[in-house]
Symmetry: C2
Subunit: 297 residues, 2 copies
């Protein structure tokens, strides 16, 4: 309980807050809460952070470096998007004004693409972490998640990217829509593979096949695990169809939670596309380490 | 208030209950509540109905003919699906056992398609109503709604059909997903047209363009009416792409609420496909009238 931090790394998304006490490049303690940016007004951020890190602080101020939706217009401080093509950490993080004197808090800016319009906040830090650990890496990074991203990397810069709502769609369909009556726990590899092939080869069928998950359950009492894998496969196949120009003939790195990355790796493998997998949390920490080197003090 | 019904027509869906006091083929009074099938246990159906129709009843029993999800396994009585190809009203409605002695209640069976698996409950009655009013009509009927249906009609039979979750997807995306921050009231015809063309010609882009609605709002502050029309257009364009084999070169009839039918008619018109429009409620009543002729008493 007497851990003191040299600096503090923060991953602050819409629905989660995760903090690490850092000594050099190493995390020596961590904590988390559900006080994501979506639940906080501007005046609430510092308190939500201090709840988790108060014990780690000394009297002298230390650096706090945060990435994610915390930098949105409604966040702790707005960290304006940098426009691609640009390095994932394109400049110094933005200082949060008027904090507790024990903190010097900074937020990493997100990236934007003007045409087609697209944005990211948080993924740029994971990408920077991956590139710090894999110098001179060119290729495509896929970051599966609530809003999955496909990102073209060349010469250390984000050249272009594309966001898909696949994770959020899976959550909606499996918990809000009529499909919730059919989707259960577990997994069925054959059903997943078949569904991926379906929408990847004929993406227009997605709209038609979704209700089929419910209808086949009503007519044939399909297992909940089959329905789950089928729903996931239809959505990921449609994403892969739309992202084909990103992955075809490319070197792919997946950054994310291990379960989700494994599903994407399987779907890519079915297309004969090999992918390396990097742990999302580890990349976040490596990226925040890289961001710290940019601080101007 | 002293209306008496010769018989009672009932449209009983998942989330609504609508009843009409009928004299011959004419509705002389109507009432509605939100006691849809989704909110009721089997023991609750009769009470929910009597709340609306009690004043219309006499001592002698009268016929009550209902269509919709009321005939599902968890409904008032299960009215098993008839398998296509089959006439939309393929046999006598199913009698509900053990009712109040003032009622002789019946439920119209839905239709099923074995492969690809699909089901309908309620739309078969609207189709029967349309065919009763348009004898010898061959072609394709589209019924837009929460779960829109495309139905191939030949020689008075439903030959095949296909369900799309377009309406439910629109509701989810516009009220639950991150797009809810961007979708507002109103309508923009140009945005709708552009979005329909996009996903109809390249259906794989739907997965990619959905998040673009949010991103372009963040970067360019898009009007809520534009975002609404764009979301609707992306979803309907994708539905039309998947339903192409239904509408291409066909005579189309749209059955539904007038606003929704007008949107689909516009999307079809953009493809050079003319459609006639029939009012959903009127078709339901015509179909229940047709079902009444099948009663065996």
């Amino acid at each position: 309980m007497s851990v003191k931090a040299e600096w503090i790394a923060v991953d602050w998304g819409t629905s989660h807050l995760r903090v690490w006490a850092m000594q050099g490049q190493r995390a020596v303690a961590e904590a988390r809460s559900d006080k994501g940016m979506g639940r906080l007004a501007r005046s609430g951020f510092q308190g939500a952070l201090l709840e988790l890190v108060d014990d780690w602080l000394a009297e002298a101020p230390i650096d706090v470096i945060a990435c994610g939706m915390v930098g949105a217009r409604q966040g702790w401080v707005e960290a304006p998007y940098a426009a691609v093509p640009v390095a994932p950490l394109s400049g110094a993080p933005i200082r949060v004004p008027d904090t507790d004197p024990r903190l010097r808090a900074y937020v990493v800016p997100g990236l934007k693409q003007v045409k087609p319009a697209d944005v990211m906040r948080g993924e740029e830090t994971q990408i920077a972490g991956f590139l710090a650990l894999n110098t001179d890496w060119d290729g495509v990074i896929c970051l599966p998640g609530t809003h999955s991203k496909w990102v073209h990397i060349s010469a250390g810069e984000v050249v272009s990217f594309q966001t898909f709502m696949t994770g959020e769609m899976f959550d909606q369909f499996s918990t809000v829509s009529v499909l919730r009556h059919s989707v259960g726990e577990g997994w069925d590899e054959d059903a997943f593979r078949e569904a991926v092939e379906m929408t990847l080869s004929r993406p227009e069928t997605m709209a038609a096949r979704l209700f089929g998950i419910r209808a086949s359950d009503l007519l044939e009492a399909v297992e909940g695990s089959v329905a789950r894998a089928r729903l996931s496969g239809l959505l990921i196949g449609a994403e892969l169809a739309a992202a084909r120009s990103y992955w075809l003939g490319q070197q792919i790195a997946l950054i994310g939670a291990s379960g989700m990355s494994a599903i994407y790796a399987k779907a890519l493998e079915l297309q004969g596309v090999p992918a390396i997998v990097a742990d999302g949390q580890r990349m976040t920490l490596a990226g925040l380490n890289a961001a710290r080197k940019l601080l101007e003090h």
